[in-house]
């Protein structure tokens, strides 16, 4: 699997949101997109999944332009877990995960789809909750179910918009460990994420966005004092502990705050 984004530009009305985005994601990558609120993280993910149509630029998955692919074919290649959406009527866990089989099924799931769904539910350890309504789950459990739906889609690329938002510590780690495990199976994962420590710990590539443009990209080394201060307008202290990068926020960089 190879995702290539070339010179992507996107604007809401005439307000530019993304500018000259270039990036590549390959099999097994865990890419964190970081940046302050409004820097274009979610917009970028939506463009990659063709939910938003970019103004210029091309997005290729395995060399094919996603704009030319049908919705179903695209859904067989890319799965996307949006930030929690206010849905309509509630479904139970099994049905929600089963929904991930939609791109592979014409109108009603067959035995094979049911088995795959059951396997995903077991893999996530949600057996006991299989028939519960989503509305009765905790935020962490629900997020796992949504990831389960994406896994049932059996794509090589997973996009997740702030998968750890609103989760407690344990669930944050569980969710990211789960995703990391997928990368070892050869799936590429791209997350938009706020927590720089988690980004540093789980990803092998980091993309820092600032006002819709890539400010810095590379390995976790881009999460350094200088970059963070410029992008977030916050003074930080960076510590190394057992090969682990730890970002400690100190104070807002006062002179730059408007």
């Amino acid at each position: 699997m190879k995702l290539q984004v070339r010179d992507l530009r996107f604007a809401y009305q005439s307000q530019p949101v993304l500018n000259q985005i270039v990036l590549e994601v390959e099999t097994g990558d865990f890419v964190s997109i970081v940046g302050p609120n409004g820097s274009g993280k979610s917009t970028l993910l939506r463009c990659i999944d063709n939910i938003l149509k970019p103004k210029t630029g091309t997005i290729l998955i395995d060399g094919q332009n996603i704009a030319a692919l049908s919705g179903t074919i695209l859904a067989q290649n890319i799965a996307y877990v949006p930030q929690s959406e206010g849905g309509g009527f509630p479904a139970n866990v099994f049905e929600t995960v089963l929904m991930g089989r939609k791109p592979h099924v014409a109108w009603s799931p067959g035995r094979n789809d049911l088995q795959k769904t059951a396997a995903v539910i077991e893999q996530l350890g949600l057996e006991e909750l299989a028939l519960r309504d989503l509305s009765q789950l905790s935020g962490g459990q629900r997020q796992k179910v949504f990831i389960g739906r994406a896994l049932a889609q059996e794509t090589d690329l997973l996009l997740l918009d702030e998968p750890t938002a609103n989760l407690d510590l344990k669930h944050q780690l569980e969710v990211l460990e789960l995703l990391k495990k997928q990368t070892r199976k050869g799936i590429a994962v791209v997350v938009a994420i706020h927590d720089l420590n988690l980004a540093a710990r789980y990803s092998n590539k980091v993309i820092m966005l600032r006002e819709g443009a890539i400010f810095a990209a590379g390995g976790t080394e881009v999460l350094n004092q200088e970059n963070i201060e410029k992008v977030y307008e916050v003074k930080v202290m960076i510590m190394k502990e057992k090969d682990r990068l730890i970002v400690v926020p100190e104070e807002t960089a006062g002179e730059q705050v408007g």
């Binding site: 179903t72 949006p82 959406e85 849905g87 309509g88 479904a91 028939l131 309504d133």
Partner: protein
């Protein structure tokens, strides 16, 4: 054998069971509906006539009055309920129904227009049935046209502003108020006879049902139900959220627009033939939802069956409650549906 899968399949069996029970009840109530009425036909006789033995008097009542009426009630109820279920999913709004969208009001305006300007409704007195529209098909066509205009406005708004639930529902409210105002204006200038016809038309009465009406209605309701059932997984995806649906490959606008057109046409047809039958489109899907959940693959066909059953029971009651006077079924559905719906509200709509 996988444990989760077994659990889910047991769960599914409950839903099939519900579908089965509804089907059985439907058959039973069709029998009861044929048997009951201003002249009561013993149940045994009904069965006999339906199978072999032709009995002059009863046979005529059964074949030309009871059966078309009973079957029409089932079809009309099914059309209203299945359209309501689809609209609720498409609009992500538990209040989705022909009324929320102004379709019924527009149909009422169309009928009033035909009665006043095209002379569709000079009325005659004939015993128990006080008011007869002398040209029902003209009135129905005009009502249908009215509801098409409302549907057109809603779809135009969807085209320009995107088919979001908010746009659709707000547009529906505006459309409904405008057509209500227009109808009121017509009523103000109408003479007594016309006014009586307009009011009578809005009652919602299956007494107008003929074999021809039934065939037209069945010709629409059955394909519509199949269409919505075929699309039910798309509606499940919509229920999961717009972005999720899109990321699963669902073409949002296409699914919404087509669904709205089909649902509007089906309800428009029912309303234009039989007037305003309240609450079936709104309440029947919610009752089903409470029993078997919101999986559209079951909700949609079950709503059709349950809606048919609901309207059939209401109509049978309307014919017999204060016999020999036959009430318009619209009054009954409101009396039955209103309190039931309140009960549902108090128990809490199963909404995230």
């Amino acid at each position: 054998m996988n444990r989760v899968l077994t659990k889910y399949q047991t769960h599914l069996q409950k839903r099939f069971f519900f579908l089965g029970i509804t089907l059985v009840l439907l058959a039973v109530f069709i029998g009861i509906g044929i048997s009951l009425g201003s002249s009561r036909i013993p149940f045994r006789k009904v069965l006999a006539i339906l199978t072999v033995e032709p009995d002059e008097v009863y046979a005529r009542i059964i074949w030309s009055i009871r059966i078309p009426r009973v079957l029409t009630a089932v079809m009309a109820g099914a059309a209203l309920a299945v359209s309501g279920a689809a609209m609720q999913s498409i609009l992500k709004n538990p209040l989705g129904s022909p009324f929320t969208l102004g379709i019924s009001q527009a149909a009422a305006f169309g009928a009033a227009f035909a009665i006043i300007f095209w002379g569709g409704g000079s009325i005659q007195s004939s015993g128990s049935d006080a008011v007869i529209l002398n040209n029902p098909y003209l009135v129905a066509s005009s009502a249908f046209l009215g509801s098409l205009i409302a549907t057109g406005i809603i779809l135009l708004m969807a085209y320009y502003r995107g088919a979001t639930p908010e746009t659709m529902v707000l547009t529906g409210i505006v459309v409904g108020s405008l057509f209500t105002a227009a109808t009121t204006a017509l009523e103000y200038f109408a003479d007594d006879l016309q006014l009586a016809s307009i009011v009578f038309w809005t009652f919602g009465d299956l007494g107008r049902a003929s074999w021809r009406d039934f065939l037209i209605l069945a010709g629409v309701t059955i394909p519509v139900t199949l269409y919505f059932t075929w699309n039910s997984w798309n509606y499940n995806a919509l229920d999961a959220g717009d972005e999720t649906a899109q990321s699963l490959g669902v073409n949002l606008n296409r699914v919404r627009n087509r669904g709205m057109v089909v649902a509007s046409l089906a309800t428009a047809l029912v309303v234009s033939f039989f007037g305003i039958i309240a609450f079936v489109g709104l309440a029947a899907p919610h009752m089903v939802r409470r029993i078997i959940g919101s999986d559209e693959r079951f909700l949609i066909p079950a709503s059709a069956l349950f809606g048919g059953l609901f309207l059939l029971i209401a109509d049978t009651a309307a014919r017999t409650v204060i016999a020999p006077v036959v009430l318009p079924v619209g009054i009954l559905t409101s009396f039955l549906g209103g309190p039931l719906f309140l009960y549902l509200l108090i128990k809490g709509l199963r909404r995230r």
